[in-house]
Every structure is written in C-alpha cells, then in structure tokens.
Amino acid sequence: MASDLRALLALVALASACGSGARERFTPPAFADGGLLRDAVPASRAALAQLSGVHGVEGDAALLGDDVVVRAAGDRLSIFARPDATYAVLRAGCRDGGDTFVLEGYYRRATTVASGLVRLFAEPETNARALCRGEPAPAPIELAGTFDDSSVRLRLQRGARDPSGRFFVVAHRGGCRTIDDCGASENSLEVLRLADALGADAVEVDVQLTSDGVPILYHDDQFDPRLASGAYCRGRVADFTMAHVQALCRLAGGERVPTLDDAFRTVVDETTLRGVWLDVKSVDVLGPASELAARHWARAKAAGRDVTIAVGLPTTELIDAWRARPAPSGPTCLAELEASDAIDAGCGVWAPRWTRGLLEDDARRVREHGGRVAYWTLDEEDFIDTFLGAHPDALLTNRPGLVRHRFESIGVVP
C-alpha cells in the first residue's frame, strides 16, 4: 500500500508540473528605434484607400497563402491572410522627400502565438511618389518587403467585393476575446479602437448594469479573475456601484471597465466601425442601454456617421420587455431565438446561433419582412465558408480578419 501511495503522489506531482501555467499576454511588437516611420510624414487616407483590395502573394506561401485582403481603416492598413487567420496592422508614411512610401507594423498568426514585424514599400517609385502626393498611382499597385525575415511581394488584383458595405463582419466582444490575446482585453475601449484594424465592420459588446444603474461593458455577471483584476474586484457586477467599479476593478489587461456611454463615444468618434450589437445581459439593463443607443445613434447621424445599432434580445423575457417599451428612434432590435420573434417584434436583425444550422427558410422569411440575418459565432474556416454559402448579411466572429478574407474569396454581397 505504501508503494501505491508513493506512486500516486508521484503521478500527481507529474501532472502538476505539466499544468496549464500562466496566461500568455500578447504585446504587439514594434521596431526598436521607431522604424522608418519615425521620420516619415503620415500617409493620407486617400493613399491608403488605393491599396485596399485583394492582392496576389509572391513569397512564402506558408506565411500568407496565395492571396491576402488589404483594407484601409482610418489611418491604418490591415492585411488579412488565410493561414492561421494571420493579420497585420500597419501604418504608412512618406520619406525621402516623398520618394518612398513605407508601411510598418506587426503581424500576428491568430490561431497560434506567433507574431513579428512587417515592413513594406510601395513600388514602383512612380507609385510611391503619387501615393505620397495623394494622387492616383500611375502603375499597378505593388507592395514589397518583409514579414520578419521572409520576403513578400503583394500585387493588387482587384478592389473589395463589397465597397458599399452591405455585408458586416461583426467582431465578438468588442474586437477579440481576452483569451485571443489581440493586444487588448475584450469589451475594453482599447479593443474597440483596434476592432476595425482587425477586420471588423461592427462590434458586439456585452452590457451589464451596476447597482446604481450605469450600463457597463462586461461579459460575465461576476467580477472574477477570468476577465477582471483587482484584489477587491470580486462578486456580482450588479452589487457594485460605478464608483466602486472604477476604483476597484480593471480588466484582465489592466484597462478600466468602460461604461456603455464611453464605448459609444469611442466607436463613433475614434473608429470607422459601422455597427454595434449590444448583447444585453438582463432585463434591467435593457432600458438604460436602449436610451443610450438612441442618443448615440442620433449623435452619430448628426456627425454624418451611419452607425447601425442593434439591441440584442437573447431570451423571450427580453423580447417581451422590448415589445413592452416604446421603440427607440434609430436603433433596432436583434432577436436571437426564432425568426418569428424577429418578425413579430419588428426587429431589423435575426441572429440564430450557428449550431442550429443555416435555417435558410426562416432566413428567407425574415428578409421578406425587411430584416437582416446574422449567424454567431463562427471562427473556423470550414464553418465560415459553409455559412457564407447561405449569403448572410453578417457573421459574428472572433476572427474578423479571417471572415473578411473568406468573404472576399467566396462571399456574395447581400
């Protein structure tokens, strides 16, 4: 029996040694000396827009595949590739008196932990000069340079499939989940600022209510180490006042827990995002969240921004509560259960979970009533391709760059 006990203890010790370990944190790599952009004049948005589209790839096929999607989002340019859902986030500038157009930033292989530095130059030089002057490039667009030590050359083949933006790539939890390590915690202002560069047209955010009635962005109904840090930040979200949240809680990456009001301001004022899906976590938060949604929808409209805001209704209780309230001006509702719920409640969006299948007959009925159809949450390429085959209006995903690439490859504009 003593030998049994010793063996058991040895096995437990061995298992402990191979335990899960600490959470890894991704910090986007940067050029040590500030790179070539340190002395560069920032490129214009018009120049970046000329680079957008589908590019053929010459170089390391294992790194980027045969083609990539290049997309301008504000003052950043992103590259989305198929292998490992790889994406790159770059900024651009002009050097040498406008003779050199350079892009620098980082790439990340989203399904692994690999990342590195990217430096690309616009070629030929006549293009670089034109891009630096904000004029149309006279020659076919080419970008040549390196992903770490791998040489690549990108050649623009065609523009984006959906320039009018009818299809929405919706990024889960504000851009990426905390566990996806995109460089910011889920449901943070920082991840909202990153979301369009990750490939998103819109974001889904989770809304909870503090005890003093402030809607905040947070997924779980409990503050715990999974998503939040702070020695005294433990317990039900609904038991904390906003002042306590601000004083005691930080998100897992150290960011503060944002209010929904701050989140709307960030989306409208600091991003190119065209939509927000509010995942309302309780009936109590529906009213305050809807009022904020209406206010910021009007504010965005006044600023010339067309931002679709959909208030998610994941339960029959929330659908009933929505129907009992006067419909807000501007925002619509998004029903997650049956198509009939969306139609009966007059929701602009029906969003079934992917595990229920394509439900194409129901989707057709929703569209006949003027609604749009979104599926959630799709991250695997084979599943994304299958659901793009149903010609949805939107896909919710933790891999917005991969969905963007797959849409450009096989998607149909709704």
């Binding site: 096995l11 061995l14 298992a15 191979c18 399904t111 989940r177 979970r353 229920r356 695997e380």
Partner: protein, 210 residues
Amino acid sequence: MPSLVFPEPAPAGHARFGLGVSVDVLPRRLVESEIREVPRMVGQTRVGVGADFFATARFAGNVLSNELSVSAGYAHRFGPIVAALHERVAFWLGYLGVEGFDTTAWGLMTMPGASIGAGDPNGFRFTATLEVFLVHAQHVRLPDATVERRRFLVAGGALTLTVEDRVGKSSLVYYGVTATLAQPDYQLWLAFSDSEQRRVYPTFFAGYGF
C-alpha cells in the same frame, strides 16, 4: 490473467476487463474558450491472442463526448522490463442537444504508440505509454448542413503513466495520469476553439479490473 495496461504477454484467450472513470483537467485557455469537459466512464478490456500479440478495446464516454477504440499490439519481455508496440484506431462521437444546439460530431483517429512496463506481473506494476494522435477525418452535422474536415492532422500525443496493483485473488485496481499535448479540438470538432496551439493538460483516471 493479463493486466489491463501492463504489457506482459498473455496466453491466447486470456482476458481482463476493467471499469473506471477519467477526468481531464483542461488548461485555462481551453476552459475560457467555452469547451467544457466532464468526467467520462471508462470500460476496457485486454485479451491475449497468442504469440505475444494482444488486442484491446476501450470505451470512454459521457454522452457529450464518447470514444470507442480498438488496438492490436505486440509485447516482449526483456529481463525485468516488458515492452510493447501498438496501434489504436479510435472513433469519436459527440452530441450536443441542449437548447440552441442540435449538433452531432464525429472524428476518426489512429494512435500508434509504445509501452514499457516494470514490476511484478501479479502485484504492483508500473507502465509508461506514449501515443501519437493522428486525425484522419472530422465531421459535424447541423440540422440542415454538414461540415467536414478530411485533412490529415498530427494533432499531438500523450504520455500515460499507469499503476496497477493486485487486489484479492485475481482482481486489480489501476490509477494513473495522462499528460496530453494536443490541439484543443483533436477529439471532436465543434468549432468552440480554433486555436491550433498544442497545450498540455493532465487526465486523471482510476478503476477496477475484473
């Protein structure tokens, strides 16, 4: 009577049956990506087929995630050490039928491996087993669509340490731990995690051999 795991060659027709339970302790990264693992019941048998060859059959299941596997192998004694080479074919079947889910998934794997055992074949004995996970096909059925992945995948491997000890006249108890280094979705492919990073996690198991 052969052991359940210890690779001592057994005479043809001699068999051992075992019943137990196993539980994975998943890494935080997998738990947070909404994969949940619950304990599985495990039934297994090992039978000698003569000329130092043996065959095994194993079922581990909890309705949500179920594995049926059969293997064949050859064992040989080298003084105090017993060694075996074996090949396992495993069929995984998973089902999620709760609200909002109507999903069935299956996967086909092979697991070539080797075992080394030491100790008293009729008393306390210790076995180390190393297996490689080779995924050949995975399939998910939704109510109105199917998604297949047929590409060959080296998904990882596992090192299992098993202790067997005699109880009574001919029964035994067994327990141990498996250290698995594998992609999260190697067994079933329900698209809850698309991480291709292999992660290490332990599985604890224990049972009784008849």
